[in-house]
Structures are given as C-alpha cells and as structure tokens.
Symmetry: C2
C-alpha cells in the first residue's frame, strides 16, 4: 500500500519539489536552493521514530510517502495522537518556535520516504526573510484552524459522527458515487487518532453503519452517497461538507 516513491534525485529536483509546497510558495529560488543543498533523502520503517518529545530540535522533515503520527505521552503512559502526517506534509517545522526541544514525538506508522533538513536553516530564514516568516505564519495558522475544528469535534460530535467526519475527509469530491476508498492505516491507529478506545471505536463504527448507507470490509470502505454520510456527521459541526475552509 505504501508508495515508496523514490526521493528526488538531485538538488535541482529537490529544490523544485520544495517550491511546490505552501511553506516555500513565493520564496526566492536562491533561498530554496540553500534548503535543497542541505536536504538528505531518508527512509524510515513502521515503528521507527523521527524524534521524541524533549529531544533537542535538530531537523524537520518533508514526507514524500507513508504516514507519521505526532503524539504526546501522558504521565500514566498513554499516548495522545494529535495529528497524522502524510505525502507533501512537513513534520517538526513549527517545533523551532516552541523552544530548544521538540514538544511532541513523531513515529512512523506506515514506512516513509522523506527529506531531512536542518532546523537551523529554517530558523534563520524565518528571522531574516519576511516572506519566509509570512509563509510560516500561513502554515501554522492553517494548523491552528484544524485544531480549533478538532476541539469542536471532540466536544460536540459523538463518536459515530467523528468516524463519519474522518471518512468524509478521505473522500475525493470529484469522483462519481459510490465512492470506494481504502483506509490509510490500521483501524486501531484511526481510533487513536480520533481519541477513542478501540472498544468505543468498534461500537461507534457499528452504529455509523446502521445509521448511514456505508459498507466496510477489511480496509475498504464503500460510500454509496456522500450526502447520507454528511447529513449524519456534519449536523454537529460548524461547517458544511466539504470543509473548504480547511483547505486554504
């Protein structure tokens, strides 16, 4: 399932790739080239960690394939998974604003290929280059908006609605119904991402299947009509489907 896309081969390719990401949109080519010059292509397997909470900040990562979970660990040993990152997303790039140490851990949940770039170069760029600082502001602002929605969802949607919302976000809106999609990672990981115990997740998924027309077999989900799923899930949300405001 994991697309082990080969990482870009040379610095020119890496530079062009970086330029296509929102964080580097509108940034001088020479500055992007200095990021590309220091980028290293890496592969990490499921279970490996990019960094742990409280490690000193050294790098940030551009994910080219696979999935990474971001989490914090509580004093009694549970993990709070607060984000899952995949293709063309950055990991750890905002950590430099928090201090000297990562304030969360990042562990691979589906084998990844990524670019590893020293955090120091980004740190300097956002201080010296107002366009870079502005692009970083837009990036972190988008995260914040997503988190505001997450808090809303945790307080006002029930567990079945939250699973429905998760599935809706996986649906591409430009394909014909029925939409058939593959869950991107293990169900237990989806439960963790949604902040549910596995048994709560199972019960809520059963209820979701009863109350909408979706079918799930293994990791394949069939959504006959988006509307049935969105009517059920989005009533307790401040947004109509699709959540266009989270795309900007």
């Amino acid at each position: 399932m994991v697309d082990l896309t080969p990482a870009p081969q040379d610095k020119g390719e890496i530079s062009s790739y970086l330029q296509s990401l929102p964080l580097f949109s509108g940034i001088e080519k020479s500055l992007i080239m200095s990021f590309a010059d220091q980028a290293i292509s890496k592969k990490y397997e499921t279970g490996e960690s990019l960094f742990f909470q409280d490690d000193p900040i050294e790098s940030f990562y551009v994910i080219l394939s696979g999935w990474v979970k971001l989490y914090r660990t509580t004093q009694d040993g549970n993990d709070s998974v607060f984000d899952m990152l995949t293709v063309s997303q950055l990991c750890g790039e905002t950590a430099i604003l928090d201090g000297d140490d990562y304030s969360f851990s990042a562990t691979v949940v589906e084998d990844i290929v990524c670019l590893k770039i020293p955090a120091s170069i980004l740190n300097t760029a956002i201080k010296d280059d107002s366009k870079m600082a502005y692009a970083m502001l837009k990036t972190i602002s988008r995260y914040r908006k997503q988190q505001t929605r997450e808090i809303e969802s945790l307080t006002l949607q029930n567990a079945s609605q939250r699973i429905g919302c998760y599935l809706l976000r996986l649906c591409r809106i430009d394909v014909l119904e029925p939409v058939v999609l593959q869950l991107p990672y293990d169900k237990s990981m989806i439960a963790a991402r949604l902040g549910m115990r596995p048994e709560t997740f199972s019960r809520a998924l059963k209820k979701l299947k009863q109350q909408t027309d979706i079918h799930i077999e293994g990791d394949i989900v069939k959504v006959p009509t988006i509307e049935s799923l969105s009517v059920f899930s989005c009533s307790a949300c401040s947004n109509e489907y699709p959540c266009n405001d989270l795309m900007t």
Copy 2:
C-alpha cells in the same frame, strides 16, 4: 468583580502598554506608535459581540479587563467555545491569516474595556517587518501548543480531571496554601469552555470534591493542598504541574 480599569488615556500610554505585550516585544517604537495612533478605547457589556463568524475582518482587540469567549456555532445550533480571553490578551489578531472573514465569533461574558485597532495595520506590519512577523509566529505558536494540550486533555482526561486541571491553572503557585480563588465567570460558562454539558459538569465536580480535598462555595474555591489536586488531575496529562511549557 470586573475591574473596569480605565483604558490608557493618551497615545503615549497606549504605546507603552502595547510594548509590554509579547506581540510587540522587540518591535521598533515608531511602528508601535502607528498602532497606538489608530487604537480606540472601547467598552462592551456582557452579551455584546465584538464580531461574528463570517463577518469581514476589520479590527483586532487588546483586552484590558473582563472576559471574552471565542466560539464557533454548529449547524444544529450548538456553540463550541474553544477559548476564553482576558486581561492583556489579544482577540482576533490571528484572524487576518485565515482569509477575509473571521472564522469564529467573539462575545463578551464579563464586561470588558479594550483597545480596538484596525486589522489592516497589523496585516501590513507582518508582511513588511520580519520582527513583527516573528513575534506573530511566536504568538500563534503558543496558541497552537495550548490547543494541542486541549486536544490531549479532551481525549485522555476524564471530566473531573479536566475540571481539576482548569482550577489548577487558576492557582497562583507563589501563594501559601490553602489557596483560595474566585471562579472568573459563571459555572455554566466554565462547563461550556470545558466542552461539557451542565449535568456532566455537576456530576464531575461532585466527584472531584469527593476525590480531592477541595471545597467550593458559590464562586469561591478553596484548595488546601495543590498536590492533592495535581496528583488527581495531572496523571492523565503529559505535563507535571505547573505547566511551565505553556507559559513560554
């Protein structure tokens, strides 16, 4: 209870006040003065709104006294209160990064005095002045960290632990025990801020009183020992009390 501190009287006073806020730390005095020049002192009473979700963005606010709730309204009419702001906090300053319209509403829950400043001046400053952009980055990064903790709390702490956590944050750690504190606003608003229905809040508060040594009468809370409350609340959190990392 509300401290209706008179707003600063002249532009020099306003400028000095702004300079004391993290967003203006290290910013050129002439730039701060241009903010002060356009700031207007305003009072709003409980129930009045500074702006509503989807209104065009015009201003941001510096709160000098009182409390404001930030919330989004779901399609079925419930509010998700995702933040409460008070003295020396800014309201709506990050909205300019989201687009042309406010992505949330702001309503007064305890009479406020504030400075109202045109958003356009901040928008220009963060694009042109890399120090201003960096200060804004630090501000929004702090919000994001708080929200990450909020998501963690919503997924891993039970309702009683969440109330305990809320009370712990009201405690000043430099005072002698027992700590006596006044709830800053109505209990129903605290319940809303914690994402609980009133009946859940009442049950959870009762359990918290049974399991720790706190006493509550009206809006006065007595915490005989911080440790009893923090042992109960912080075990399901990734931080020990006090949450120093949220202060930076």
